[in-house]
Subunit: 342 residues, 2 copies
């Protein structure tokens, strides 16, 4: 592929600067789209849906038909991995994920080798999407950050993460070993995603908040650095976007030490901080999903501000968190038009 054929989002991750940045939205596929609800009605079990390549590919592509996004992100869930490692995972409607008892670390370690094979449907989804996705649009693969996945595995559900943070302090060896298991399994899972079509990888560290500096380094930054080093050792040099949501000011140290090519910023990232990061990495974010849901002139103004404050450096336009389920489709259209100018 010549440089001119390299998709815009990949070029942004190589450091290219655009007057109008490439754009995609976290959770651009899924519950905000009426056609997604029609599709899901055919496969009510969410995990079965994620593991059905035909349906997951369709869900991935639905927003690409409606909106001028520069990237598709494979439809999957960060909890497919712990399930592939042998922990029971299910979804309670309206309440989010639930996990069964945490298997022993020995048992989890014994499943690392087999886990990637159990996730092969995600690779099939990627292949299906890549076959029909326009070449100028980037296909993104992803996984949960090791700490975020560990918090789910320890707590058995979403929530305050108090139990996981307590465990990390009171039983650090156990938590460090669990994270090491997740780093290794995630590396193989992501390699598989690259082999089947992912051109960019994102690590969703959704629960990076409320950690002291030393714990953040130990539980987030260093595991990401080890994960990326493992990818490189396995022969994969695909650019990685790390998204340590809620990291606050700790994102600065993360950006230089985690080995990522891009850093996702959450809604509270200050303009000046983003500009400082742009000397090391490409930044991505950080529109408030509440503003996207609200629409109107305030949405346009905020989009203009974000582009103005960050488009002098490498920048990918995105939200600071996922699209809210009750976001009007018209507001997504409005926002993407405002970013692309088309």
């Amino acid at each position: 592929m010549t440089i001119s054929e390299t998709p815009k989002l990949v070029r942004a991750l190589q450091g290219d600067i655009f007057e109008r940045p490439p754009v995609w939205f976290m959770r651009q596929a899924g519950r905000s789209l009426p056609e997604y609800h029609e599709l899901r009605a055919q496969a009510p079990d969410f995990i079965a849906f994620c593991h059905n390549p035909e349906m997951a590919a369709e869900a991935t592509l639905q927003p690409m038909r409606r909106f001028a996004f520069d990237a598709a992100i494979v439809f999957a869930d960060i909890l497919l991995l712990p399930r592939a490692l042998g922990q029971e995972v299910w979804f309670e409607t309206g309440e989010g994920p639930r996990l069964g008892a945490l298997p022993s670390l020995e048992a989890l370690e014994g499943e690392i080798g087999a886990s990637t094979g159990r996730l092969s449907s995600v690779g099939e989804t990627l292949q299906r999407v890549r076959e029909v996705l326009e070449p100028e649009r980037t296909l993104i693969g992803f996984a949960g950050g090791p700490w975020t996945v560990a918090t789910y595995m320890i707590e058995g559900r979403g929530g305050e993460r108090a139990a996981a943070r307590t465990r990390a302090v009171e039983d650090p060896r156990m938590v460090d070993r669990l994270i090491a298991i997740l780093v290794e399994a995630t590396a193989h899972y992501l390699v598989m995603q690259v082999r089947t079509g992912a051109q960019v990888l994102q690590i969703f560290e959704s629960w990076a908040e409320n950690l002291a500096e030393d714990d953040f380094d130990r539980l987030v930054t260093q595991p990401h650095a080890r994960l990326i080093a493992r990818l490189r050792a396995l022969g994969v040099d695909t650019p990685v976007i790390g998204f340590p949501r809620g990291a606050g000011a700790l994102v600065e140290g993360y950006a230089t030490a985690a080995g990522v090519r891009g850093v996702g910023l959450d809604v509270q990232a200050p303009a000046a901080l983003g500009r400082r990061l742009q000397s090391h990495v490409t930044i991505q974010g950080a529109l408030d999903p509440i503003l996207l849901r609200a629409g109107g002139a305030a949405l346009d103004r905020r989009i203009d501000t974000l582009i103005e404050q960050w488009s002098a450096g490498p920048y990918i336009f995105n939200l600071g968190h996922g699209v809210l389920p009750d976001t009007p489709v018209a507001h997504i259209t409005q926002a993407v038009k405002r970013v692309t100018g088309r």
Copy 2:
């Protein structure tokens, strides 16, 4: 009072630097102490307890007898203010606060003048505490930050603040006016606290997280600046500590623009950020309450690290959030000893 008689914590807020910083803990009074549970058993209704000067003074003083804290903070609740403005407030055991329907803004405005009188019991508590508190120990008064109180008033309870953030975006005039009401009422409430004995004031902006930079400035920083300007206009020059919990990197702009003399840092504040703030303000924080609850050698190590990283500038030792209810008293003793060296 000569300089040598000025209490250590007040001196820290004047910029004095100590080898061992002054220390107090947010929620040092209350549920972690067995004697508090005995006291509360005599007055099961929490609001009635807060409004009983004898009991509230006793609760304020309980931790001062056990621990070598440099400051007492008046036992009260940030939701006494909306109650004094005419909104119903009650506490469900184990579930936290509940608030009745939000009165009209006209109704709230009409109650500003009377609200401080309805909070006179807090002044009586301060007077009782000051009578017996040793002069080298500082007495702290406090109020909730206008945005945090507004979120409770809008949502009717604690939680995700999604409704309040949505309201702030979709009906900015209403939210700005509610905040203006709270700024004015809070100013008079804090003036009363100073007149009755408070030597330092803290603004608990507990829900400063998840706001975009422009919203944070509008909803947190500027209202704090107006509140402090109002205190000065009312003749009060008492030092104010602002604690915008969850502000992340936005705390830097806050520290220079809010007009506060001290800034409380939450657990995730990086060492370097704290040092930068120390050229403008005194910093306070930021031990993880989970580590305090856990105790042990890791607690001592972290305390040493915090003192080492921040004691070259003006610094008040504290937690990054309140003491957790199930924290062993022995761990609080251990921590205070580690800080004071006594």
